[in-house]
Symmetry: C2
Subunit: 357 residues, 2 copies
């Protein structure tokens, strides 16, 4: 079961202000007494909790079950693995769903805007709290991979290596555009009520639409064209579900809206837009230069949300700065979501990279 | 000024049923007495009217002003050019905005679902009405290009050549997925009222979101990343307009929602999903086989909505059937919208292709 940690001092935020206290919901696997040099941090993405893998305490499969466990890519026989719900997510760390200190209600839309740099700092505070000065590695994909980069830039001496998958060092307008449409679907849903909806009565339809668009950008046209019927077999009107792919998206969107909070989604969506290794360091190159540990950057050829060129550019920049960086491209129709589907590609590569040091 | 034509007999529809009468709003350019062999049809796309170019009667620039006119790609000194508002569009031909015969109100959401094959047939009826048995060519892009293909398949003897740009012979699930999200944004807007909104009080916010997503898919990431600032310079909250690209999309969406009807949009969005050259001919290959006139198929390398592979596959299939077909790929960051932006590429190629016969 996840452990709840409350750190009762102000947590400063990149865009200004601070949270009066920091809550961290975290879990661990493997030998819990192992020192930092045998510890690996896993940083989750937008919609994932701290439950990356099943454990004796919680046998439910985790979202990275295929990658984390005994003998797997992140081998829990070898590594102590630590994960935490990310800052802003509805899964237990400080977020719009947390109680606002001194107020009778949760933060909701009053939660201040965060960035991936703040989210990375949550992991540093967690390490402080559990007495680890430095870990062997940090690993993450998508928003998780952005946190890894920010952690490596902010705390270069607190990790020996890092793995960043399908992330970016700096969000580009082409990605902001896609996320914006999802946010608009939520904020124009009348049930959003300017963010002041009652728990359980949020903008479920708007959130479902945002998730449908998300689902499209997390996969690829190749996957959809292989997987779904090309012929319509349902009601052909514009409001009908004429095509199999429409029923798939509709079900996905509805399930997600049921389990996720709209204010958290908006916060995290914007948080990813604000990913920028240069923030706080003067400019992009200066921020990238702060990353000194050896890294493994992976991208997927058909990533529609964060194209592989963005991982490639970051790898080249790091190389030009004399950093040790490995860059690999996976060909996968699963696009941005490949890290959840292609264990046989990621597993051995991550295992080998972790073992190198 | 466009001319209004009413054909007072039932217009049958591919999916069943018929319209009790057909209204056609059309325009022409060049020598209006020219015979069919010197006539070129231009078939508009989703959001375009019959006003493709300025004329003495209407000096307003048309949506294909750079392509149609004296000395241009479609040279009105040489060709009589005819265009019509497409079936289902709010620009004057039969659509949800037309009066429903025998009813006091317009069709609205009761307008039956149409397909590009129906839209192509509107042009055949127009030719009948103005006494042209056969034309030199039909040209169109996007939904216009789909109508061209359907016209060539349904009426192979009524045209000598055809040009289809950024279209498809059969819509694939990857494209349906993108369009579905836009439709959902409209149908979940409470102002949609199940399609029974009052004129002028439609789901403007939902329609704007659909258009924002459309705008993204009509252009490319390359264009957005070149054109827009990468740094946020506005309010960073999730509801704010933090990035230049957000302000651009927001303005585009709002303008479109002001000029377009939501029921027409829904109808046309689904209409494109239903594009299938095989419909009515047993199967896809049989439908494609009916196209006998020489054609020019063009696609754009960064088309996000209808990828160039779809134009390529159609061209290969036509070639394998022994048809005379030219296939060219334009490299353009304007993606699906390139036909509106790349006159210097399309103009000479279309002029040469039209002149070949």
């Amino acid at each position: 079961m996840p452990q709840q940690l409350v750190i009762d001092r102000p947590f400063p935020l990149v865009l200004g202000g601070s949270l009066p206290r920091l809550e961290i919901c975290w879990e661990q696997w493997g030998d819990r007494t192992a020192p930092g040099e045998r510890t690996v941090l896993v940083m989750p993405a937008l919609s994932a909790s701290s439950h990356i893998a099943s454990s004796d305490e919680n046998p439910e499969p985790g979202w990275w079950e295929g990658m984390v466990g005994p003998g797997k890519g992140v081998d829990t026989n070898r590594w102590r693995v630590i994960s935490a719900s990310i800052l802003g997510s509805p899964y237990g760390s400080s977020s719009p769903m947390s109680a606002q200190p001194g107020a009778a209600k949760s933060w909701g839309c009053d939660f201040p805007q965060i960035t991936p740099a703040d989210q990375a700092r949550l992991f540093a505070w967690l390490l402080d709290a559990i007495g680890l000065e430095r870990v062997h590695a940090a690993i993450g994909s998508s928003l998780g991979g952005m946190q890894v980069l920010q952690f490596a830039a902010q705390f270069p001496r607190r990790l020996a290596r890092w793995v960043s998958i399908s992330a970016t060092g700096k969000t580009t307008p082409g990605t902001v555009a896609l996320r914006r449409v999802g946010r608009c679907a939520i904020t124009t849903d009348p049930d959003w009520k300017g963010g002041r909806y009652e728990p359980g009565h949020g903008p479920a339809r708007g959130l479902a639409i945002a998730r449908e668009l998300g689902t499209i950008t997390y996969r690829s046209r190749d996957e959809f064209n292989r997987r779904f019927q090309w012929e319509p077999d349902g009601e052909t009107s514009a409001r009908g579900l004429a095509f199999e792919v429409e029923r798939y998206l509709e079900a996905h969107g509805r399930r997600f809206a049921h389990r996720f909070d709209a204010n958290c989604y908006l916060l995290l969506s914007r948080c990813m837009d604000l990913m920028d290794l240069g923030a706080g360091f003067g400019n992009y190159a200066e921020g990238v230069k702060r990353i000194t540990a050896p890294g493994f950057i992976a991208g997927v050829d058909r990533d529609m949300l964060i194209p592989v060129t963005e991982q490639q550019h970051l790898a080249h920049l790091l190389e030009s700065l004399g950093r040790q960086v490995r860059f690999e491209v996976l060909a996968s129709e699963f696009g941005h979501d490949a890290f959840l589907k292609e264990d046989s590609w990621f597993g051995p590569r991550i295992a080998a990279f972790l073992a190198e040091a």
